[in-house]
Amino acid sequence: MITLNDYLLVSGLLFALGFAGVLLRRNIIIIFMGLELMLNAANLSLVAFSRFGIVNGLPNYNGQMLVFFIITVAAAEVAVGLAIIVALYRARQTTNVEDLNTLKF
């Protein structure tokens, strides 16, 4: 029998995976993909909680609404983020965070 905890565990592992990508990788595009994994982990736990908090046979739709809006906002954020990466690439010809050292004290 699959329980809520199994879903939460998978979601937690996915979040940690995304976090590892953000912390350890040096390529901005990959860091960005790690961010998407983290957001998706939050979505998975939200949907699992929504299904778990069932009332009268109906899931708790508040959780699913959150996921709906997170997906939309994430799409807008991806568009903006990739535009920023393009602007940076035009100015610096790099997508490696270690090359970002104009601003240092």
Binding site: M38, I84, L88, L100
Partner: protein
């Protein structure tokens, strides 16, 4: 049908701002000249002032869909403040080196204003997230607006990556809080939170949400983006990041903790430590104060000094939040508003120096009192207020904050928060050093730069002067700001939630 009408009724100012944005964008399609920039600015200001007037004539209370959008006197006060800060930033923008896409720049400032107003006026976790994104996404773009400058692009990218990580943490935290309590509205959360305060999963969600907010308000150890962004972004954008987004961020953090999670506070008193958000906040506050003030000592760029000073100021504000336990927001809000006015003014002076002398290093400020005595005087007012020396507004802000911290602790029978207050006061003395270094360059060191043409008056310097006068006035008569805040907060507390005139269906 009814809901849609109520929505329009409650959010008229925001709707007016959206319309202003469309007008500005269309007007921006015509050929670019210097006059056109002034014309666009006037359009923006007309729209902004109309929205502000609408805010004042709105109904006193409102509540849609169980806290999705709320209106009460305190909310309205903060909305007016953030709108005013955004409009001042728009005035700065005309003097800054934004030459291309000026209409879009103004539009993004107004979008940020809408986001901050929505953020101030919501008590729902979902709306908090969306409004935060509505503030953050335009700010990422504003930070990277000078795309030919690699510093600006880099600042924008760093801001974006950190903002994205913080949003992910906030969301995962919200998902755990929602999962363990079943609530998305802060009022519902307040009802169900006390039952789960010992639940590790709930506490994990709480910690992750606070980490998310910690990034937004640039508290240590989530502060590393702030100096780079303040330095690299166009100065008018940095001014908005330092002032408006800070006010909105603190208001929503305060609301989240005070309304939603008052039952999960715990205790930070040194003798009776209990898990909850209070001890976490107290520790973050103490580290922010120490790290921010120490790091500011070794900076040579005034924007970076302001950034580290902002980190330390975040520490003071968090101390205020953890001290009052969320019961008395007034002293924190007073402090935040005064800080926002001061920081905005300081960035106005930096903007002037940058435009005239090509940089914001300390040596660019040398001899400012000869070339622009008025602005030098303003800078003096802002720095001394930030350092918290009487009789300026910053002093009263700190005074209320520390008094509140000691007062709330003594109610518990001991001076439990004394350790944080002691750290705060000690490092406030340290901070005096770097504020005075700035003033030394402004007033004492003779100018090594060639003399520049005498400053012509323009709107930005006028607004900077106005900010200095207001900081001075609030210092002399703290009641000017304190009384409306106090009245608004009392009115907001008296509000019977169920008797709100605009009812959710």
């Amino acid at each position: 049908m009814n809901t849609a009408l109520n929505l329009l009724h409650l959010l008229t100012p925001e709707s007016i701002l959206v319309e202003t944005i469309l007008v500005v964008l269309i007007a921006g399609l015509f050929k670019a000249t210097a006059q056109k920039r002034n014309m666009l600015l006037s359009l923006t200001l007309i729209g902004g002032v109309t929205a502000g007037a609408m805010l004042i004539f709105q109904p006193h209370y409102g509540n849609i869909a169980n806290g999705m959008a709320v209106l009460d006197p305190l909310t309205r006060f903060i909305k007016v403040v953030v709108l005013g800060l955004s409009l001042i930033t728009a005035v700065y923008a005309v003097q800054s080196n934004i030459r291309q896409h000026f209409a879009e720049y103004l539009a993004l400032i107004l979008f940020t204003a809408i986001g901050m107003m929505l953020l101030a006026g919501t008590e729902n976790l979902l709306m908090i997230f969306i409004a935060l994104e509505m503030v953050s996404i335009p700010l990422y773009l504003l930070a990277g607006f000078l795309k030919q400058s690699s510093a600006s692009a880099e600042a924008s990218l760093k801001y974006f990556l950190v903002g994205g990580v913080s949003a992910a943490f906030l969301l995962f935290g919200i998902s755990l809080i929602y999962g363990t309590t079943g609530a998305t509205s802060l009022r519902d959360l307040a009802q169900s939170a006390p039952a789960v305060t010992r639940d590790p999963l709930f506490l994990a969600g709480l910690v992750m949400a606070i980490v998310g907010f910690g990034f937004k308000v640039a508290a240590v150890p989530f502060h590393l983006w702030a100096p780079d962004v303040y330095e690299g972004a166009p100065t008018s954008s940095a001014a908005l990041i330092a002032s408006g987004s800070k006010v909105a961020g603190f208001l929503i953090l305060a609301k989240f903790l005070a309304i939603g999670l008052a039952g999960a506070a715990g205790s930070a008193a040194s003798s009776q430590l209990q898990p909850g958000w209070l001890p976490l906040l107290a520790v973050i506050a103490a580290i922010s104060i120490v790290v921010g003030n120490l790091a500011a000592l070794s900076q040579s760029n005034v924007k970076r000094i302001l950034a580290y000073s902002a980190i330390a100021q975040s520490g003071y504000m968090l101390l205020g939040l953890s001290a009052t336990g969320g019961t008395a927001l007034i002293s924190v809000l007073f402090y935040v508003v005064v800080y926002a006015l001061t920081a905005l003014g300081a960035f106005g002076v930096v903007l002037h120096v940058e435009q005239r002398r090509g940089g914001s290093q300390l040596h660019h400020f040398e001899g400012l009192h000869q070339s622009a005595p008025g602005l030098a005087l303003c800078m003096g007012v802002f720095m001394i207020s930030l350092a918290g020396i009487p009789p300026l507004a910053g002093f009263f802000g700190k005074f209320y904050l520390f008094a509140g911290a000691l007062g709330s602790a003594s109610q518990g029978g001991n001076l439990g928060l004394l350790w944080v207050v002691a750290i705060a006061i000690t490092f406030n003395a340290v901070s005096l050093y770097y504020y005075l270094i700035v003033l030394k360059h402004v007033f004492v060191t003779p100018a090594t730069h060639p003399a520049e043409p005498v400053t012509r008056r323009n709107a930005a310097t006028f607004v900077t002067g106005l900010l200095a006068v207001s900081v001075f006035a609030i210092g002399l008569y703290p009641g000017v700001l304190l009384d409306p805040l106090r009245a608004a907060a009392q009115a907001a507390n008296r509000k019977p939630v169920t008797a709100a005139p605009v009812q959710p269906k």
